[in-house]
């Protein structure tokens, strides 16, 4: 199977993730969409690795996973504390940082 098809799939997944980040208000869903985008990148990286015949892309994919795991820890903690203080997980409610 042509590896380019994996890239199409990765682009599709990334577009879905990006759209989700932009249009959804629930912080959990936004968060999951970000994970989707990250994994779309991972898929693309692995596909590139296959296409080029070396392991660079796979190694970077591992890095991405580690960073994503760390991000999940911090991000979920922020969402939990946000929900505790505002009783809402909507990202639009947390809009105090503006002029």
């Amino acid at each position: 199977m042509n590896p380019v098809n994996y890239l199409y799939l990765a682009s599709l997944l990334f577009a879905i993730g990006a759209t989700g980040v932009l249009i959804r208000r629930n912080a959990i869903v936004v968060f999951m969409c970000i994970e989707l985008m990250l994994n779309a990148c991972n898929l693309a990286l692995v596909a590139f690795s296959r296409m080029h015949g070396n392991l660079d892309g796979q190694i970077i994919a591992f890095f991405t996973m580690v960073v994503a795991a760390a991000e999940v820890v911090v991000g979920l903690a922020i969402i939990v504390s946000l929900f505790r203080s505002r009783h809402s997980a909507s990202v639009d409610d947390a809009s105090l940082m503006k002029l």
């Binding site: 932009l22 639009d92 947390a94 809009s95 002029l99």
Partner: protein
């Protein structure tokens, strides 16, 4: 002996500090302290002089290095003194005449409650003037130069309660500032050209420097000299400076400070010798001022202003001589010294007359004073004979030499022009000085009662004007005033002859200024004879106008020239129209440019940034998702741009 040089300056400086900081407890003794310190400085000068006489001409110069003032890398400014024959001449003149005038001031300022302060300022002046003449580099000279300017300002405005005196002081300071700027530019030019401003190094290096640079330095030095020595075009302050007390006029504005310009030119002789264009400028300035001052002196009725015009004219002679080069330097300095004697004597005489006439300065209200003030009359008369160049007296020897040297300047038409001007000046000098003499001491009494400032003006007009105020009771001045006048009269009579004996003065100065014998275009006896003729004509005209005919108490309208000369030949009007109006127009247009162009650019920039940021802050709406859109959009643009670049 060399270690004594600093003492010359230290004594009057100490006096100034004590008198100005000492407060009222010195009111009763301060004037004695000031006078003693001035005399002390004179004694030191005399000691140094006798020491100097004991050595050969070439190694008479003495040096004293006090400390290094500003040592920065290659830049070296020292507080160091140099006492050579030229400086010694000045030091003796300054401390000698200065001491006499201190003594005179004890009597003259007796009734002034601020006498202590007056002596403090006089001592400050002496210290600054001595620094000026014994400095061994131009920077230290500049310190003295500014110091005498300050002392002159303080003393002209000493009677600061009179608005005219305060204004005159400011005027003198401002006009001098223009000249000072010339000196500071000259010093900067010297530093960039020679890398030093010590006299010895600068004057030795003139041989290897281009004439253009030397001309620039010379012209800036001339500007400085014009300011300090009241030469055209910076002459306008000297007449007003007569608002100061008379001893100040005698010391600062006749004998010493105003001659600093001549000193500067003579000291920088090597620069001028190598820059003939600058020299020609000096000669022209001297010749113009010589006539200018003389014409002004002819029309003034204020005795001090007439003498001020005369001072200007005589310094014009000195500047003229200093511009002639090696044939003139020695004569410039010789005339400077003799002028120091007779002009200081004349001013002190004028002060004595004013002292006896209730501070009246209008000569039309004098007349017939010779019987009432015999000592003043005789000393003033001797000064008068000396200044007009009566054969045998000081002015004869020094002025005649300058006229001879002027007739020996250059070739072609130059000697005739400048010699002729110098000769004409001698005639006008004879005229205006005879006028002063006749109006003051001869003729009918034209005394007027002085309005008494303490009395209320009475409502009904007084029957007789004589009772409206107090008639003056002319009387001889006290001994403290007459003795300095007598000493100066001796100097006026004998100094010139003494200096000319075997050309002793010229030989004395020769190691410093160099000397060449002038070769006038007409023979020396012919010049002397024509000088005498011109002099006699001047005296005769003055006698015909002011001796034979009675002098009216109110000045007649006079000719156009007389009226112009009464207004100082319209110098103030000229300055007003050209400089003040011109300056106003310049500043107004600059303000316009500033308000429209400069402010327009600045305000426009500020306003555009303000508007832009007002719009941009709307992007900052607090919604995380809109930030995410801009991030995504930005990334998309970057990726698109990168791909586009690749494709191209």
């Amino acid at each position: 002996m060399e270690n004594l040089i600093a003492l010359l300056v230290a004594a009057p400086l100490l006096g100034a500090v004590i008198l100005l900081c000492g407060g009222r407890r010195l009111d009763r003794t301060g004037h004695w302290l000031g006078t003693l310190l001035a005399l002390g400085s004179f004694v030191v000068a005399a000691l140094l002089f006798t020491d100097m006489l004991g050595r050969d001409g070439e190694d008479r110069a003495m040096h004293q290095h006090l400390f290094s003032w500003i040592p920065v890398g290659g830049f070296q400014a020292d507080i160091a003194f140099q006492l050579d024959q030229l400086s010694m001449t000045f030091v003796l003149l300054i401390t000698g005449v200065g001491s006499l005038i201190h003594i005179y001031s004890i009597g003259y300022m007796e009734h002034d409650e601020r006498r202590r302060r007056f002596f403090g300022y006089l001592n400050l002046f002496l210290a600054a003037m001595l620094i000026l003449v014994i400095a061994d580099n131009y920077l230290l000279l500049y310190v003295g130069w500014e110091g005498v300017g300050l002392a002159s300002y303080l003393l002209i405005g000493f009677w600061q309660h009179k608005p005219s005196a305060a204004t005159a002081a400011k005027k003198a300071f401002l006009v001098n500032r223009v000249g000072d700027m010339g000196l500071s530019i000259a010093i900067m030019l010297m530093f960039t050209t020679f890398g030093t401003f010590a006299f010895g190094d600068v004057l030795a290096a003139t041989g290897e420097t281009s004439e253009g640079k030397l001309t620039a330095i010379g012209l800036m030095l001339l500007l400085a000299a014009c300011g300090k020595s009241a030469q055209v075009p910076l002459q306008s302050w000297l007449g007003d400076a007569m608002e100061g007390p008379t001893p100040v006029s005698a010391l600062i504005h006749a004998a010493t400070m105003v001659t600093a310009g001549v000193y500067l030119i003579t000291r920088s002789g090597a620069i001028f010798n190598a820059a003939p264009d600058a020299q020609l400028a000096v000669v022209i300035v001297g010749a113009v001022t010589l006539l200018f001052g003389a014409i002004v002196g002819c029309a003034k009725d204020d005795i001090k202003k007439a003498l001020a015009g005369s001072t200007m004219s005589q310094i014009g002679y000195m500047v003229l001589a200093a511009g002639l080069g090696p044939i003139g330097y020695a004569f410039a300095i010789m005339h400077l010294v003799t002028h120091g004697f007779f002009k200081a004597g004349l001013f002190l005489g004028a002060g004595s007359v004013m002292h006896g006439m209730n501070d009246e300065v209008d000569m039309r209200k004098y007349g017939g004073l010779r019987k009432y003030m015999p000592v003043t009359f005789v000393t003033f008369g001797l000064g008068y004979l000396a200044i007009i160049g009566f054969p045998g007296l000081s002015g004869f020897w020094s002025k005649d030499k300058i006229i001879e040297a002027a007739f020996a300047y250059g070739d072609g038409v130059r000697p005739w022009i400048f010699g002729g001007v110098a000769l004409l000046g001698a005639g006008i000098t004879a005229f205006y000085m005879t006028r002063v003499m006749l109006m003051t001491f001869f003729g009918e009494k034209r005394w007027q009662p002085t309005p008494d400032p303490h009395k209320e003006p009475s409502a009904e007009p007084a029957a007789d004007d004589a009772h409206a105020g107090e008639m003056p009771h002319p009387h001889e001045s006290p001994k403290s005033m007459t003795i300095p006048m007598i000493v100066l009269a001796f100097g006026s009579v004998f100094a010139g002859g003494l200096f000319s004996l075997n050309e002793s003065f010229v030989h004395w100065l020769e190691p410093v200024t160099a000397f060449e014998h002038p070769h006038p275009v007409i023979s020396v006896p012919a010049i002397t004879a024509s000088t005498m003729v011109v002099l006699a004509i001047g005296v005769a005209i003055a006698w015909f106008m002011y001796g034979k005919r009675p002098v009216p108490v109110t000045a007649p309208r006079g000719s156009v020239l007389t009226r112009a000369a009464r207004r100082d030949l319209l110098q103030d009007d000229f300055n007003h129209v050209v400089l003040v109006r011109g300056g106003e127009h310049l500043t107004r247009s600059l303000v316009y440019v500033d308000h429209t162009l400069v402010d327009g650019v600045v305000n426009g920039t500020a306003a555009s940034f303000g508007g832009l940021s007002g719009r941009m802050r709307k992007l900052q709406n607090g919604f995380a998702r809109s930030y995410a859109v801009s991030m995504l959009g930005g990334t998309a643009v970057l990726v698109a741009a990168t791909l586009l670049m690749r494709a191209v």
